[in-house]
């Protein structure tokens, strides 16, 4: 009986370990997931307010924590000099008026609207797009090498400055929250949906 109980316990322990491994693996890995957004610059141009300045598009999801960190950065300052900063929110944004009050342009949109050709090409947020005065794409990618967190949220300022100076910088990975249906379907299988929102 005791031997049976121990055997039963070991089986239970194995199941517990597999479950723990499964869930923690998802948590571990999901933050390193890099989204490759392939949206059209033309779509973005619809949101350009001032064609004579650099335009910086911040693409956020209201429930995405990474987006919230970046929004806090925006709320803590005003738009960069000679730069029109546009916030494209993939859903209603509670701080939209505050942002507007600071000089930001806020557009509530959706993945379908943002990636009209193929919404699946918009895979994750946050990412930013920098276009020159001429409307050329200067940058499309993530804000940081890592997932956005309080330590990395403001590091993109230098990146923007360098880009405005004319430097060519490789796009950083987009790490954050899944947006596309494919990832939306995949990620809930990987982990807790709410974690990524």
């Amino acid at each position: 009986m005791k031997r049976f109980s121990r055997k039963f316990f070991l089986v239970g322990l194995f199941v517990w370990a597999m479950g723990g491994l499964y869930w923690t693996s998802q948590l571990h890995a999901s933050h390193l997931l890099s989204f490759k957004n392939e949206i059209s610059i033309e779509t973005l141009r619809n949101h350009i307010h001032d064609e004579q300045s650099w335009t910086l598009f911040h693409t956020f999801a209201p429930d995405c924590a990474c987006s919230r960190f970046l929004m806090e950065d925006l709320l803590s300052r005003k738009p960069l000099p000679d730069t029109a900063e546009v916030v494209l929110s993939l859903g209603p944004l509670d701080v939209a008026d505050d942002l507007r009050g600071l000089g930001y342009q806020v557009h509530i949109t959706s993945p379908e609207e943002l990636a009209k050709e193929d919404p699946s090409l918009l895979r994750g947020v946050p990412f930013f797009v920098l276009t020159r005065r001429s409307g050329e794409l200067a940058y499309l990618g993530g804000y940081s090498e890592n997932k956005i967190n309080p330590h990395t949220s403001a590091s993109f300022h230098q990146l923007v400055t360098r880009l405005q100076r004319g430097e060519k910088i490789a796009a950083l990975p987009v790490k954050g929250c899944a947006v596309s249906e494919s990832y939306q379907k995949l990620i809930p299988k990987l982990g807790f949906r709410g974690v990524f929102q």
């Binding site: 723990g20 693996s25 998802q26 948590l27 571990h28 890592n146």
Partner: protein, 467 residues
Amino acid sequence: MNPTQRSHYHRISLISFALMLLHFPVFYVMANFYKTDLSVALGLGAALMAGPLLTFAVFRGSRITLSVSAFTLLCYSALMIHLGRGMIEYHFHIFVMIALLALTGSVWPVLVGAATAAAHHLLFFFYLPESIFNYEATLGIVILHASFVVFETIGCTYIALKFGKVLDLQGTTAMALKEIIDGQAELSQGLNNSSSSLSETTQEQKLRTQQALETLRKIHELATQNTQQADLGKRKSVESYQVLSAGEAQLSQLNETMGELRQSQDEIMKFLDGANSGMASLVQTVHEMAKKTQIIHDIVFQTKLLSFNAAVEAARAGQEGKGFSVVADEIGSLARLSGAAAKEIEALLSQSVASVKKLTAEMASHTEKIAKETSRRMNSSLEIGQEVVKSLAETVGQARQISEVMESIDQAAKAQGMGVNELSESFGRLDSIATQAGEIASANRDQAEKLMQETTELQRLAGRLSA
């Protein structure tokens, strides 16, 4: 598995639980700071901790608990990376945990920890390759990435293996040392007890020796008194013997005197017999005298006849014869006188004879009686004297024996006194030895106590060694 290893595994298990618990406030802070899900952090953290706790309840102090704890800690690494929003800095938690797992002293927790980290990465490499790196990494990149963990794991495994061997050696040494220390403790305890007992016994012995010395002193005094008394008794017995010997001599002399008296009595009896004979002769003589008195009477009668004849003749001679007649008359008167005297003599003689006879008879009777009585008393005296002499002789013999005994007693008392002296000296030496033994016992006890202290210290060290 020796007790030291078991104890170490047990303690490390508890430390790992403490370490897990310490993660919770960190998770809490991180979840709030990085705006990640607090319920996941705490809920999943608690669920992950349940495994080690249950395993600990079932396999207390075993490698299994440590291995399960290692799994949980590496899962905590994943949880921490998640809560830190994938910051690369939190990946160091994996390396720190694997390194810490080397402290378990068992290779299994290290391997389980490394395997858990590898499983995390491999699972996602095959499921979602781009989730691991910023780009779609190849298997080679994954292997390169994992190689650092592998190298750390190899190093930590080596350390754990060595540490495990050290623990094993430590446990074996501690057990052997414990046996030695226990033996030493028992020995020192026994030595201490023996020393205490010896000390107490020595004290008791010393006390007894002193009491014995006191008793011996009294015995010595008594022996001295005995010696003096024995000496006095000996002298008295000698004196008694001498007195008795003198008395015996005097009694012998008395006996001799009695014998002489007996002889004298015999002589007296002979003399009395002689006297009786003399008296008989006297009576005979008196008888003879009485007979002679008859002769006188005859002479007187003849004389008277002669005087009468002379007076007749003087009367016939007339004038001339007158003178003669006177003479005749005178002769007749003398004859009458002689006759009267002879009668008186005869009477006297008769009376004398009677008296003598009576006297002789009485004397003979008394003499015989006295002689017999004297003889009887003399015999009795002699017998008594002989008995007395005999008794005295025996008494003297006994007195001599007493004297000899007293001499022996005196010598024995003196020997006893000497023996008591020697015994006192021996007891004095014994007392000295007891004192030395007491000092040695005290020193032994001090040494035993010191040994016990050292043993306690050793036990403490062994406890630390086995801890």
